[in-house]
């Protein structure tokens, strides 16, 4: 049985088809990652799953409940962690959590214990009485997670929870997410950071232009049909001619150049390296840095969509 079952979900805004019939399931205790560049449809998908938008087609099941037929029962099972902290800055951490607990249906008698429990989880117990506007960015993000957990949801929807914070808070958040999974919580996790997704997620979906173009475990994604390596060159004096010449080498599938950074996708990059170096030398360009990257989600993403995750 799945906690989240998304079937043929569609959403358009005028002529913009943001989500074009996507389907996936999330099992109990699983972290499901959604990777995609800006405009891929990730945020719209999360809004549909959270019940913030009404889909044009398809359905969302949370446990046994259809989100749009039985929203009250379905929403009890969902916690959301928006990208920017959705908190009241003039209130204390504890007051915020008591508010979000009440709004999510906790009884007054259960609030104190729930607040203490989630503050412990995110490591903010000592700052419970402090106003949120005195918190650092990382602490606000952690409290934002606590607000999503206050009513003990079965499914947590996290929209890029680590964007723009310090490494210490980021590690704390990643540890918290892993611990939640170990306690059987299901999580839908979106991020631009490939290493986070690789580290945390049990299964990953790659989304672009409103479609889920690939989905599976990390091992499946990297082993089936994707054995590509990427050769990164940082060049001075690169030219379109050089890019075209390299693209014609046997085994090369794709060459992308941006601000002097050339990415060469090839089935096997090592054997073509001498030829590449020779072409660079002949063109008069010089190399400041060279790096060989084994298959990973970033190169898979590049191969599937033709663009980088941060493009």
């Amino acid at each position: 049985m799945s906690i989240l079952d998304v079937k043929d979900l569609k959403k358009s805004f005028g002529k913009n088809h943001a989500v074009r019939g996507i389907s996936f399931m999330v099992a109990p205790g699983e972290i499901f990652g959604i990777l995609g560049p800006n405009g891929a449809g990730k945020s719209t998908t999360l809004s549909l799953i959270a019940g913030l938008l009404r889909p044009d087609g398809g359905r969302v099941l949370i446990g046994d409940y259809d989100l749009h037929l039985e929203p009250q029962n379905a929403k009890k099972m969902i916690g959301i962690v928006p990208q920017e902290p959705a908190l009241y800055p003039m209130l204390s951490a504890e007051e915020n959590l008591r508010f979000w607990g009440t709004i999510n249906g906790l009884r007054p008698g259960d609030l104190a214990n729930s607040v203490k429990r989630v503050l412990d989880i995110v490591g903010l117990s000592t700052r419970a009485r402090d106003r949120v506007n005195t918190f650092s960015g990382g602490m606000k993000r952690r409290l934002n997670i606590a607000a999503g957990l206050i009513h003990q949801p079965r499914l947590l929807i996290m929209d890029e929870p680590t964007v723009g914070i310090d490494p210490q808070s980021r590690n704390h958040i990643l540890e918290t997410v892993a611990n939640l999974r170990d306690n059987d919580m299901s999580i839908v996790y979106t991020s631009h950071y490939v290493e986070e997704v690789e580290h945390l997620c049990d299964r990953v979906a790659i989304m672009d232009h409103g479609h889920l173009i690939k989905e599976g475990t990390l091992t499946d994604l990297l082993s089936h049909g994707h054995r590509h390596q990427t050769l990164h060159l940082h060049l001075h004096g690169s030219s379109k001619t050089l890019q075209d010449l390299i693209a014609q080498l046997p085994g090369v599938e794709q060459v992308l150049t941006e601000n002097g950074h050339m990415r060469i996708n090839a089935v096997e990059a090592e054997p073509i390296m001498p030829n590449v170096l020779q072409l660079v030398k002949q063109s008069g360009a010089s190399i400041s840095n060279i790096r060989l990257e084994k298959p990973n989600l970033e190169s898979l993403f590049l191969q599937l969509t033709g663009r980088g995750l941060r493009d």
Binding site: K75, L91, R131
Partner: protein
């Protein structure tokens, strides 16, 4: 009920904790009332009721639009909409919060006018509370209607100033309009601020009866109801 109370309480605590908001809500209108108290008594009575209806309108319109927009920008609106709290509970919470702050502001201004700055009122207090309640309902309706359409805080400020300044300054709230042009008198006929200020003057100064004010009260209530329904429906459609 607990959810509605939580929404009211959080809104009021956020507001009270912000000194700038409190200054706009209370300190500034009380200061203006004090300045008006140096006018001759007839002009003073008209002016302080004008200050009252103007600041209550400004507060409610900017608060309704501004708070909802701010909550949308910070994501607390979306987090509430994703919770088990229904849209109607959220709106009722917002409405009561606005109504209570509007009523508290109006009563504090009335009491300070009488007891601190010597307004010579001796009658019509309960009827005054009823008129104020209906006026505040109308202004809350105007505010929530605009909240359904505004996209930026700048739009909120501009629309609030437009509605309040036209309705108050051109509506005869601060000066007699008996001999004014038909255009000015036309604005006064449709301005809730004008109806409210006239009704309050009739009650507090002339000892008028509520039965004579049924027309203004129905007009203000009707405006409030229609605009409230429009704004609430628009906000629900936006999600």
């Amino acid at each position: 009920m607990q959810k509605i109370l939580a929404i009211i309480s959080v809104g009021i605590r956020q507001m009270v904790a912000d000194p700038v908001q409190m200054m706009f809500l209370l300190a500034l209108p009380i200061l203006m009332t004090w300045v008006m108290s140096f006018l001759p008594v007839d002009a003073y009575e008209m002016a302080i009721l004008g200050v009252l209806v103007m600041f209550v309108a400004l507060n409610l319109i900017t608060s309704a639009g501004g708070y909802i927009l701010e909550e949308k920008e910070t994501g607390t609106w979306q987090r509430m909409r994703a919770s088990t709290t229904s849209y109607w509970h959220i709106i009722i919470g917002y409405f009561i919060r606005l109504f209570v702050t509007g009523l508290a502001q109006a009563l504090i201004l009335l009491l300070s006018s009488k007891y601190l700055f010597g307004a010579p009122w001796q009658q019509g207090y309960w009827a005054t509370v009823l008129v104020l309640s209906i006026y505040i309902f109308a202004m809350t309706g105007v505010g929530l209607f605009l909240a359904g359409f505004v996209k930026t805080q700048g739009q909120v400020q501009a629309l609030a100033m437009g509605v309040v300044m036209v309705g108050t300054m051109l509506g005869g709230v601060f000066f007699p309009i008996d001999n004014a042009s038909p255009f000015i008198r036309g604005i006064a006929q449709i301005s809730p601020q004008s109806w409210a200020a006239t009704a309050l003057r009739d009650l507090l100064t002339a000892g008028g009866s509520l039965s004579l004010l049924m027309g203004p009260l129905l007009w203000m209530g009707g405006i409030g109801l229609v605009l409230l329904a429009g704004g609430v429906t628009k906000l629900q459609m936006e999600g």
